[in-house]
């Protein structure tokens, strides 16, 4: 018997136990027999053999020979960043998902790659967070793709990133689940809008309702006048969610026939009257008396009116919401703030404001949004209600609107504290320096800081948002203005986190640079 065979026999005996199967000591070669004790139990004899065989096996290990040539990673043209970046990543991963995105963005902008030691955690992260995958791929380089090829769950990272995201895979469209098909269509819409349009035209009508709802949502990406024909047809869709969404998209298409129809309707319900003594003009609002079939086919009144409102109010809100906002300046000569002022006395004021808000969100109109921010809303919760609508604005426009809100808070000492946290949540970081400074003027207030940080949730929330998303150059401002607080060392735990996080981000921006 070879040593290996002997060991296998021993393992087999050990498994069933020497009570059942004794080890065939007689088959051993002479030098083994020498090793056995002269007396003792069979177990002790067997254990002696095991002890000797184990040692011999370990001392006489025969290595396998690998004939294949293992592929090492191809060279990257970019250099990886220093290992110190890894420490920042680890903190980001422990702390907050958005910090990971910030780390990835910084590395991507540095012109270097992620340090190699980071790659397994980045792959793990990308596996669990689809939205970070493009960035992970970008900072991972060739080494990441090579590494990803060794683990099936990392296979998403094995192909090179294309400029506009990944090439969609048509097989998914044909056989995939609803979510996968939607994702495919989303990618196609980004990648090749024309192909997406013809694909939609072919299949849309035969899709189930839930799928139609998902698909029409995707038209938000790169909405264009080429979509008008399709959207017009969708107005007649049996599913209300589809037809309403089509109406919203059409209203945001400049020059669409739908927008024209709505503009005319707006002209019919709102008349400009000369004011008393002929000074200025006044908007006089008169909602439609009845719902015509034409209005109905444009989805007006499709939603049941808000509680406390009549049908006519619902029609009015819809017409205003679907009317291109430029109508108010071009046809009525009213800028947003003036228009809002004009309806101040009207009994339809609140309905108008609600409609305008929907229009401003759909048409991504920052000027209107800003004016609506400054208006006294129909409800106490008005400013907070604006929050979700703000999501539609570009980050730059949003920053401008938030700045205006803060100014309003200061000038009219209105209570913006309820709305500000919700608004800031919509604004991705890092914020522009100007806005950061404006917010820091409120937060980094040596007199109020400690008290507010422990008692005022909205203050704490705003501070938390700044620490997480404020411009990194804001940290030295905090350090300077709150110097006494920091030095005293006695501040509430929430402040501790605020300081630590903001400073951490500042150091990270200092460290990860081109």
């Amino acid at each position: 018997m070879t040593d290996n065979q002997a060991w296998k026999r021993m393992t087999a005996t050990a498994m069933v136990g020497t009570a059942i199967q004794s080890y065939p000591a007689e088959s051993l070669s002479p030098e083994w027999k020498e090793f056995l004790p002269e007396s003792g139990t069979p177990e002790s004899a067997f254990l002696t053999l095991v002890a000797g065989a184990s040692l011999m096996r370990r001392a006489g290990y025969a290595p396998a020979v690998d004939q294949e040539n293992a592929k090492s990673a191809p060279e990257d043209s970019l250099l990886p960043g220093p290992d110190s970046w890894d420490a920042f990543l680890r903190t980001c991963l422990e702390e907050e998902a958005s910090l990971v995105t910030e780390w990835l963005q910084l590395v991507a902008e540095s012109g270097r790659l992620a340090p190699f030691r980071c790659l397994p955690v980045l792959l793990e992260h990308g596996t669990n967070h689809r939205d970070r995958r493009p960035l992970v791929r970008r900072v991972g380089g060739q080494r990441l793709r090579w590494l990803a090829g060794h683990r099936p769950e990392w296979s998403w990272a094995t192909h090179a990133p294309t400029r506009e995201g990944t090439e969609p895979d048509k097989a998914i469209w044909n056989d995939g689940q609803k979510a996968e098909r939607t994702e495919y269509f989303r990618a196609l819409r980004t990648h090749d809008p024309a192909a997406a349009r013809s694909l939609l035209a072919e299949t849309f009508k035969s899709e189930p309702a839930a799928m139609r709802v998902s698909l029409i949502e995707c038209l938000d990406i790169g909405l264009d006048s080429a979509d008008e024909g399709f959207l017009e047809a969708c107005l007649a869709d049996r599913r209300k969610q589809v037809s309403r969404r089509a109406a919203q998209f059409l209203s945001a298409l400049p020059g669409s026939a739908f927008a024209g129809r709505m503009g005319e309707r707006a002209g019919a319900i709102a008349g400009a009257k000369s004011g008393l003594l002929g000074i200025g003009k006044r908007l006089v609002i008169e909602p439609p008396e009845e719902l015509t079939p034409e209005m109905e086919s444009d989805t007006i009144g499709a939603d049941s009116p808000q509680s406390g409102q009549g049908k006519r109010a619902g029609w009015l809100a819809d017409i205003v919401a679907f009317t291109p906002l430029r109508v108010w300046s071009e046809d009525f000569g009213l800028e947003p703030a003036d228009a809002i002022k004009q309806v101040d006395k009207s009994s339809w004021r609140n309905v108008m404001l609600d409609g305008w808000l929907r229009a401003a969100a759909q048409q991504r109109n920052a000027a209107w949004m800003q004016a609506l921010t400054m208006a006294d809303g129909p409800r106490k919760t008005w400013l907070s209600e604006l929050g979700p609508a703000l999501e539609r604005l570009s980050p730059d426009d949003l920053a401008t609107v938030i700045s205006a809100l803060i100014d309003r808070g200061q000038k009219k000492s209105a209570d913006i504290s309820q709305a500000l946290p919700a608004w800031l949540r919509q604004l991705p970081g890092p914020w522009p320096l100007g806005l950061t400074e404006k917010i820091l003027a409120m937060v980094a207030n040596p007199k109020a800081f400690q008290m507010a940080m422990s008692n005022d949730w909205s203050f704490r929330e705003v501070a938390g948002q700044v620490a997480l998303k404020g411009h990194p150059a804001g940290w030295p401002i905090v350090e300077q203005r709150l110097d006494a607080v920091i030095r005293s060392g006695s501040y509430p735990p929430s402040a501790d986190k605020f300081f630590a996080r903001y400073q951490f981000r500042y150091s990270m921006h200092q460290e990860i640079q081109p």
């Binding site: 060991w7 254990l47 020979v65 294949e68 290992d83 030691r117």
Partner: protein
């Protein structure tokens, strides 16, 4: 000068690193200076008086006038980070009194410690009482070993597959019994059998290896007097007899510059441990430093992987000496951090291993550095491959391996690990560029 990584490894916790980084700015330090191994600075803190932070890079040792109970404090870390980032900001200067006094007192304390240690080494404890104690323990251990042998016999009689169905208690009771018998080392080996039995595919062979190793120890203990002296020491320390530090320090020192291959830290039974694997650049000897710290205590000595220290090591008596202590004069950092060249090829490594197992059959694993080693991943398993294609299987130990794989890029480099005779526990693999620097 320390790298940021090395500095981070000195920090007591993550917030300290953050705080330290924040202080690594020139503006925070109205006064800065350096002189030889000494580094100091004054940091504007909350009080009117700035904090005085001083560092002795020999060690390194820290002192700061701030009230922080963390050690080293964020000021000391900040000073180190700043030194690493912008060494130019530190002017060579004569140390001010608050620095030189501290250095002087450190030197005095160090000297006193040396003298005391020497004195203690000379002074023997009451030999008679000690002999009695040893004899009492000896008979306790012997009784424990008798019991253990019966238990092992019972185990193989019943068979591994039926014992495996037993609860963990079966092993735990025996381990506890060994602790009672003052044979903590044997208790550990019993637990190792238990964990091998629940270790997944191929557990049978692993468990039998552990059983064999334990039985070897039992048999050897029965004829302890016939063993050559250094091997008898290995046997005794495996059973659980500890060797007094003074005895170790009395061994003749091995002076060398030691490269730090790896530092493993963790916690067991609420005691934090740190295992530092070193290799001498001239002697090529491997050494293992073990450090334990409980509660808020910090490790007496701490150094980051990839650094080199200059020190005299005293090895614990053994047939294949590995565990060591740093001599009383301490260790100092060396600028050069080139790793020692590794062993050339798997065959040469296995040759060394076979010789070591022959000298010390109790060895569980041997440390080694292998040159031109390629980390390969195939069929969901990792192995190490030398330039000739000879391979060693690697024990799967979680995410570390993937990190090593990413760092090496699958290209040949120097790998460091422990070879058990059947599987390799990979501890590190250098980035190929770092390894290339040695050639």
């Amino acid at each position: 000068m320390l790298t940021p990584d090395a500095i981070e490894s000195l920090a007591p916790d993550a917030p300290s690193i953050k705080a330290g980084r924040g202080l690594a700015r020139r503006a925070k330090w109205p006064a800065l200076g350096v002189c030889g191994d000494a580094l100091w600075g004054e940091c504007q803190g909350s009080g009117s008086k700035p904090y005085q932070t001083r560092i002795d890079m020999k060690g390194p040792a820290f002192k700061c006038s701030c009230p922080s109970h963390k050690f080293p404090c964020k000021h000391a870390l900040g000073l180190l980070f700043l030194r690493a980032q912008s060494p130019g900001e530190f002017a060579e200067a004569h140390p001010p009194a608050w620095v030189s006094e501290w250095l002087e007192s450190r030197r005095e304390k160090q000297q006193a410690k040396t003298e005391k240690a020497l004195e203690k080494a000379k002074k023997d404890a009451d030999p008679q009482a000690q002999e009695k104690r040893v004899a009492a323990r000896q008979s306790k251990v012997a009784a424990g070993i008798d019991e253990l042998e019966l238990w092992l016999g019972d185990l193989v009689r019943r068979g591994l597959s039926s014992v495996r169905a037993e609860s963990y208690d079966y092993f735990d009771r025996m381990a506890a019994r060994m602790i009672d018998a003052q044979a903590a080392g044997l208790a550990n080996m019993v637990r190792e059998i238990a964990s091998a039995m629940s270790s997944g595919a191929g557990w049978e062979s692993r468990a039998l290896d552990k059983i064999g190793a334990l039985f070897l120890l039992i048999r050897a203990a029965r004829c302890e007097d016939q063993l050559p002296e250094p091997l008898r020491q290995d046997l005794r320390s495996l059973i659980g007899w500890s060797v007094p530090k003074d005895t170790v320090l009395a061994e003749s020192p091995v002076r060398d510059e030691w490269y730090v291959w790896a530092v493993e830290s963790g916690e067991q039974d609420r005691v934090r441990y740190e295992r530092t694997w070193l290799q001498g650049k001239t002697t090529r000897r491997h050494a293992l430093l073990l450090s334990f710290a409980a509660g808020t205590a910090t490790h007496e000595f701490s150094v980051a992987a990839g650094r080199t220290i200059s020190a005299s090591l005293h090895f614990y008596p053994s047939a294949a000496p590995l565990r060591a202590l740093i001599g009383i004069e301490g260790a100092s950092s060396v600028e050069d951090s080139q790793p020692p060249a590794g062993i050339d090829g798997v065959d040469a490594l296995l040759q060394v291993a076979a010789e070591l197992f022959a000298i010390d059959p109790f060895l569980a694993a041997i440390p080694f550095a292998l040159a031109e080693a390629q980390l390969v991943h195939r069929d969901e398993a990792f192995f190490l491959r030398d330039a000739q294609g000879k391979t060693l299987p690697i024990e799967a130990t979680g995410e570390d391996l993937w990190r090593f794989f990413a760092i090496s890029g699958g290209a040949p480099s120097i790998a460091f690990g422990l070879w058990t005779g059947s599987v390799l526990q990979l501890r590190t693999i250098l980035a190929p560029a770092e390894a290339g620097a040695t050639r």
